[in-house]
Symmetry: C2
Subunit: 133 residues, 2 copies
């Protein structure tokens, strides 16, 4: 992490690392008491939450292309808030689909202390379910 | 609407009007081509979308208390973006429940041109279904 980050650029780098499947570098960007609230899917905690929650899901994806549609922020790297709207595009079961997501991030002392995503659970379940036949 | 609004305060006033069930004044704050994207529940358009989508739902609610937990914005009243995280608390079927929601708002020429909410559809359906017995 460079010192030139803003809350906005910190979250953009974090998302970019996830998209490139670099979960360990992404995990180094979160606080020890990091909360990953995956909305209707439940919560996990600490830097290990990244690997724990995403490695299985990413293992199912043959392509990952999360696009930040809108992102606004307030505060500083010491204490900041970043909200975004994303199209989390993934290739799974041989086809690209889009998961519409809104994300909430809290920044504390240059690290991400909260990541909460809002989305429709049924949409995710349908995407993850292999097509019949 | 006073001229002292910012994108942030415009959306706060809009939410406040909805909470006080003043749907007609809220509808006057949106553009003629306003898009109300109620996420997994579908889209409606124009100022009439407010009444159309919310009057039935609000009619089921004996109490409405939407709380903005976090809100960030960018741009100006001429062209701005506001993202928020809310607890949309409602009293329905004799009990208070919370609908966790993330909202996206676009501002154009001093009016709201887009309102998109992200939430879990099943959570809303369960809240709206009368308890058995």
């Amino acid at each position: 992490m460079t010192t030139s980050h803003t809350p906005d650029s910190l979250v953009r780098e974090f998302i970019s690392l996830l998209v490139s499947r670099d979960l360990s570098t992404a995990a180094a960007m979160v606080t020890n008491d990091f909360e990953y609230d995956n909305g209707p899917m439940g919560k996990t905690f600490g830097p290990e939450a990244i690997e724990k929650t995403l490695s299985g899901f990413f293992g199912m994806c043959t392509g990952i292309d999360w696009v930040i549609l809108r992102q606004t922020s307030s505060g500083t790297l010491e204490s900041g808030t970043v909200l975004n709207e994303r199209d989390d595009r993934i290739e799974i079961h041989g086809r690209w689909t889009t998961l519409p997501v809104a994300g909430v991030f809290e920044i504390r002392d240059g690290k991400i202390s909260l990541w909460r995503d809002y989305f429709d659970k049924q949409t995710i379940i349908e995407v993850m379910t292999p097509p019949a036949g």
